[in-house]
């Protein structure tokens, strides 16, 4: 376990250094994770063994850690498969940094009853919480709050707005 942490930490340093050196990180760090990382991942993932360049994997990890919203289908709190890697990255980060605190803010779209939607938002926040704890995050690191439909990301009453509003936001503190 300790060794793995060490490798990852080393990887982190390498990764950041590599990114900086290659100038693939633009000023806006958050959007920057998307740019260089994906291409590098695809080329290097097949490169198994001899030249272990950890940079792309780390970039991928940072890209995932930059993703702070998980979306849901209507009236469910099931974690969709496309969010597994993202939650795994966040869960591992929390496990490796016990002092790190994460607040999970659950939301629902604006259809139906407001208080029931508080329930749906909470259920979604709890679903994310469980996945993070499976990755090693502890209960003391995680708090949840459900805003139901009270703080929409989009104000429209259409499928796209509803999709963007059914979400859990990950807020590091």
């Amino acid at each position: 376990m300790k060794i793995r942490v060490l490798i990852l930490l080393t990887a982190t340093l390498f990764g950041i250094a590599a990114c900086n050196r290659s100038n693939t990180l633009p000023e806006d760090a958050n959007s920057g994770f998307d740019n260089g990382a994906v291409d590098n991942t695809s080329t290097n993932s097949s490169n198994n063994g001899s030249n272990i360049s950890v940079t792309p994997l780390e970039a991928e990890r940072l890209r995932l850690l930059g993703q702070l919203v998980v979306y849901f289908d209507y009236d469910t709190a099931d974690i969709l498969p496309e969010f597994n890697a993202q939650l795994q990255a966040h869960g591992q980060q929390l496990a490796q940094n016990p002092s790190m605190q994460l607040r999970l803010e659950g939301h629902a779209d604006d259809r139906g009853s407001r208080e029931y939607n508080i329930g749906l938002g909470e259920r979604r926040a709890q679903a994310v919480r469980r996945v993070l704890m499976l990755q090693g995050a502890t209960a003391t690191q995680l708090t949840t709050v459900s805003y139901g439909e009270e703080r929409p990301a989009q104000t429209g009453s259409d499928e796209e707005s509803w999709r963007l509003n059914r979400r859990v936001e990950l807020v590091y503190r």
């Binding site: 604006d110 407001r114 208080e115 508080i118 329930g119 709050v145 459900s146």
Partner: protein, 450 residues
């Protein structure tokens, strides 16, 4: 304070109940309140047999009456959708005393009923309003009262007169003297949001800010004596339930546990609060909190979402929303320990946010099907659902008027949150527009206590 006594000349006739049956017709937009109202009531669907009534301007000795009682009474009666007041300009005479009434004149104008009255000064800043209600066809007085009040209570006096006329003619107590609470949200150009809990008169006037926050406020709930309001606030980034005394503004945070603290509902005796908690990161369950002893009791234990509790009028059972069977449906559970919840709603895949009628027989719900959310009532005994707003798409938060004849609810108009009401028989509909911002979560307050 109002002082009411039956006027000397009043010979109160046997109460006559009008038949208010008739088809639903759209009668167009009819604004009945003054422009300065915070909320404006518009009849959007009414009774084609709305009863014609003449409310004659009240007499006043001297220049400049301190208050226009008759216009408020007329507006009240019109806003109910059950009455069609005659325009003042169409009146061929303006009697203020019974001796001046020529019934034949009012028959010609097709007025079924006639209200006349006077306002007089009886002391320093003290006024007496006297009114008489006549049946024009029979040519006889139905009721009459004299009400005394201070200057600041003249509007309330007009509402009391409306209540008495309404009850005399329909057999249903009027709700013109009651208040409503609701939530408003305003968005500044920079995206900053301001949430408010507002209490106003039932006609939208006298809007008073009860609470204000940059974080969401929701779920206002009246205490049965109308003195306190419970609501939910996210101030400080966490959800909490607050109870605020309206007169003093003092408030108490009664629940701020980890996770969900939501959906407060006062018990009929005002001593308990039902609320929804997600204790220990568990699921949502309905609890009761004794506001005096602080004793907390868990009422539901299912792993599903159990929330939106509301008390039966006798306080012995609680209705709530649960999705234990898949989608949200309404259940009822006894408040004694160890009761098993019974499912109440069965029609349609979505029935939530129950609110019980004052007689306990009907449960108002948000009912959803095919992505449309409407207001319905479920018969508590048979489980039969009647949809009251079949044209609705975004209807939510139903709340019974204390006379049980009307349900106020929230809906959307061109994406904007507005309030609306529908009569419990579905026939009369009104739209209650806000001057600024989105309004939602209306809750009708109880009858004022004498």
């Amino acid at each position: 304070m109002l002082k009411v006594r039956e006027s000397n000349e009043a010979s109160v006739s046997r109460r006559r109940k009008m038949s208010l049956l008739g088809a639903v017709v759209a009668v167009g937009a009819w604004c009945v309140t003054a422009a300065e109202a915070q909320l404006t009531i518009t009849i959007t669907g009414g009774n084609e047999q709305a009863v014609p009534i003449a409310v004659v301007p009240f007499g006043w000795q001297g220049a400049g009456a301190p208050f226009d009682i008759s216009s408020i009474v007329g507006a009240d009666l019109a806003s109910s959708g059950r009455f069609a007041p005659l325009a003042t300009a169409d009146m061929t005479s303006r009697p203020t005393q019974a001796s001046q009434v020529n019934f034949q004149q009012w028959r010609v104008l097709d007025a079924d009923y006639l209200v006349i009255g006077t306002l007089s000064e009886v002391g320093p800043d003290r006024f007496a309003a006297q009114f008489q209600l006549f049946d024009v066809l029979q040519g006889q007085q139905l009721t009459g009262f004299r009400l005394e009040a201070g200057r600041t209570d003249l509007r309330a006096t007009a509402h009391r007169i409306s209540d008495m006329i309404f009850e005399e003619l329909t057999g249903i107590p009027g709700v013109f003297s009651t208040q409503i609470a609701y939530v408003s949200e305003e968005r500044a150009a920079n995206g900053a949001r301001t949430f408010r809990v507002i209490v106003s008169d039932a006609d939208g006037f006298n809007a008073q800010k009860i609470a204000e926050s940059s974080q969401p406020l929701m779920s206002p709930s009246w205490s049965p004596d109308a003195r306190r309001l419970a609501y939910v606030s996210f101030e400080g980034g966490a959800q909490g339930v607050y109870v605020q005394t309206l007169r003093t503004g003092t408030r108490e945070r009664v629940s701020a546990r980890a996770g969900v603290n939501s959906a407060p509902a006062f018990s009929p005796d005002g001593r308990m609060l039902a609320l929804t908690l997600s204790r220990d990161a568990a699921n949502l369950d309905v609890h009761t909190l004794d506001l005096t002893t602080q004793v907390l009791r868990q009422l539901t234990t299912d792993a599903a979402i159990d929330t939106e509790a509301t008390w039966a009028p006798d306080g012995r059972s609680i209705y709530f929303t649960s999705d234990r069977a898949g989608g949200p449906q309404v259940y009822r559970v006894g408040t004694d320990p160890g009761q098993r919840p019974q499912r109440i709603s069965f029609e349609r895949p979505y029935n939530a946010r129950p609110r019980v009628s004052p007689d306990g027989k009907l449960i108002a719900v948000v009912t959803g099907e095919s992505n449309r959310y409407q207001i319905g009532v479920v018969d508590a005994a048979s489980g039969r659902l009647t949809v009251l707003t079949p044209q609705g798409r975004y209807d939510e938060s139903p709340s019974f008027a204390p006379n049980g004849a009307q349900i106020i609810y929230a809906t959307k108009d061109n994406g904007r949150g507005v309030l609306a009401s529908v009569s419990t028989d579905g026939r009369i509909r009104t739209r209650i527009a806000s001057v600024a911002g989105d309004v939602r979560e209306p809750v009708w307050g109880p009858f004022p206590r004498p």
